[in-house]
């Protein structure tokens, strides 16, 4: 006979799901994209990723200490995920202090100052990235981005972007911005674009690897497929429909060009498969803490983000707009929640339509 009985409110059993399990799974889902980065940019990216993760962990630990919270909370893995995501949106040849400062801002400013896990309004990794954009513009904006000459697949640890094996070029989006129509003249094929063999940030280049990880998160129910789909679809719609300046400088909407068959489809491919769009669609905008909870809210949120990318890329000063698009969408989240929650309760009748008495 047991001496003492435990008394608590039902339910008395719990599922196996835990926050650490979610976070470590997300970290695992990022591995394929990281491996492609390793192949394309060389071992240097390991330094950037390690410094970023380490900076996030140390900042998290210091914050927990300052807030008199147990250090055991580090085990939830959320700081690691932020660290990896931050590194993935940095250039492969970033100086050592770039990921270090980025991690401190991401965790210290964007996460802990807002109240820690679950309380941040904006995506920490992207706040880190946005901060670096202004703090170290020369470290983040390059006319030429290095990447390695093709080598056997097994030699992923051999080269480095700083070595003689590296070549350099503008990113596809930058080419698109400055000289539309010449995107594929740089020697890349559509497959390069899709698989990730092109200049860019550490973990952003490979659409196929990111989609693979994203599919895992969707299959596990950590990501609602509607959100990335809404984000990507809104970008495609924006790029196709918004008027853009042609060679003669006159603004032209994409729609007529689609109908008369003169639309430059490779431009659309660059928009979708290069830059940070895929990483943003599957790993950034889908961040649980900063996205709405209802399906309806997530679709609205995704559409806002997608349209922002199109606006920034087509009319803004930067070739890339994923980071800011998601931060702006983050800002819309409370308002989206307000208009989409609480949803209709099961069985709820419209009283005006003569519900039950």
């Amino acid at each position: 006979m047991p001496p003492d009985l435990q008394v608590s409110v039902s339910p008395h059993i719990r599922s196996q799901e835990t926050v650490p399990r979610i976070m470590w799974t997300v970290a695992g889902a990022l591995v394929p994209a990281g491996l492609v980065g390793l192949y394309v940019f060389g071992w240097r990216i390991l330094v950037v990723v390690s410094l970023s993760v380490l900076s996030c962990i140390v900042t998290e630990a210091a914050s927990l200490r300052a807030r008199k919270l147990p250090l055991a909370r580090l085990r939830d893995g959320s700081a690691v995920v932020t660290g990896v995501l931050l590194a993935f949106v940095l250039p492969p040849h970033a100086a050592w202090y770039v990921p270090v400062v980025g991690g401190m801002v991401a965790i210290g400013l964007a996460k802990q100052l807002f109240g820690g896990l679950g309380h941040n309004v904006f995506n920490p990794a992207l706040i880190g990235r946005a901060f670096l954009q202004f703090a170290f513009p020369l470290q983040l904006n390059h006319a030429e981005w290095p990447y390695l000459i093709r080598r056997p697949l097994l030699e992923i640890f051999r080269g480095d972007v700083a070595s003689a094996d590296a070549i350099a070029g503008a990113t596809p989006l930058a080419v698109l911005k400055d000289a539309p129509g010449e995107v594929f003249s740089g020697g890349w094929s559509f497959w390069d674009l899709f698989s990730g063999y092109m200049p860019g940030c550490i973990g952003e280049t490979s659409s196929v690897a990111i989609i693979l990880g994203g599919a895992l998160l969707i299959a596990l129910g950590y990501v609602n497929w509607r959100l990335p789909v809404a984000y990507l679809a809104a970008l495609v719609a924006g790029v196709l429909l918004f008027p853009v300046a042609g060679a003669d400088g006159a603004l032209r909407a994409g729609l007529p060009a689609i109908f008369d068959g003169t639309y430059p489809w490779q431009n659309l491919a660059v928009h979708v498969f290069s830059g940070g769009l895929m990483l943003g669609a599957f790993f950034m905008i889908t961040d649980m803490v900063t996205s709405p909870m209802t399906s309806r809210g997530q679709v609205i949120y995704g559409v806002i983000g997608g349209i922002m990318v199109a606006l920034i890329r087509l009319y803004g000063g930067y070739p890339e707009g994923v980071c800011y698009s998601i931060l702006i969408a983050n800002g819309f989240r409370p308002m989206i929640d307000r208009f989409t929650m609480p949803p209709r309760v099961f069985g709820q009748r419209d009283i005006a339509a003569g519900g039950t008495s």
Partner: protein, 459 residues
Amino acid sequence: MRSFRGGVHPPDMKHLSADAPIEVLAAPEQLVVPLSQHIGAPARPIVQAGDDVRVGQLIGEASGFVSAAVHSPVSGKVKAVTRTRHPLGNTVDALLIENDGQDRMAERVGEDNPNWRDVSPRDIVDTAMKAGIVGMGGATFPTHVKLSPPESKHIDTVILNAAECEPYLTCDYRLLLERTEDVIEGLKLLVRALTPPDAPPNRVSGIIAVEANKKDVFLKLQDMLQDKTNLLARLMPVKYPQGAEKQLIKTVLNREVPPQSQRGLPMDVGVVVQNVGTALALYEAVRFNKPLYERVLTVSGDAIDTPGNLLVRVGTSTEHVLKARGITDSASVVISGGPMMGIALSRLSTPVNKGTSGLLALSSSENWETMPCISCGACVRHCPMQLIPSKFSTLGDVGRYDETEHWNVIDCIECGVCTYVCPSRRPIVQHVKIGKAVVVPLMRARAEELRRQQEKEHG
């Protein structure tokens, strides 16, 4: 298979006791029979200390329409009118009865009534009331009230709830397997009780709804109901809480009962839901004049030596039942009911009542550390009522329970799905209970104020 939105699939653990035939548990020497074994006013004791009682003798009479009679589960002597603990934690009046072990039956109790098939709908409702029959799935709502819908509600379907979606519980499964015919007779009586006198006999249909993990029972039922025009068995997907009234009706008939905030009841969509045990109790009451003083319950859990299904007299202590199947020292929590909605008992002296569907002893001593809500949306996705459960806990964390009204806290059925899936281990149901306790009086006060104002305006 069609079903409701949301829900979860916890490990069902039914293998522990599903194959154990129902065994009779000998009544203990002393029983404590609560006078509140139902929702509604407590029964009034009509015996005194020193009185001799027989099995099935009325010892507490219903003290209103929404109340239920209580009968002696054994023969012997009333020792005292006392107080005992209800599983919910409050104390209620009870009768302490010393069992003489003779099982002397009260007059007529157990006699086969040869004309039982001819009883009128009115008589069936009457019998349910006299026999003290209540919903035996756990809610313990008096059955005669459910069988007396207002004339404005046209009932067309009785659903016999055999979902038994709570993990571990197998008592309804065993009853359906071992006493199939009697349960069907009980369903027929329920159907007849709800058929208006002037309506054709087939106006009301009876559906036995079974989860797909009890296919053997479904096939047996289907076979036996083949030639019936208004009775049928339905197979439902395995999903918790399939047996919750609103979700059950959605699955079986695709009708949505309005939520609590709109005072919705199954009868608003023409349905009455009854439990398997209740149907059997009604059959035994009508045919054998047997009041409800014993029930089948499941004894299970990893801290029980030999899990099984037992026929137990109400008033038997939890300790007596658990010891009968061997409880190990590793037990850290004892639950009355299932693990999702059952109540963790604080004392093993708590007596079995008419709504006790199971007694579980679990050794799970996992310490669930609560973490902040990461708005992962798991609770939203799985909530069978389409609420935003996380709100209840985040508002509760900062003491803003009054705001849970806006988030429809009173529509929560407390099925526990949100808390089960929460990766941050947040005690959401606990916050819901507090939220309701804060919100309901506020709503009542507001309604009262409105009524007073209207009275003033109209003179």
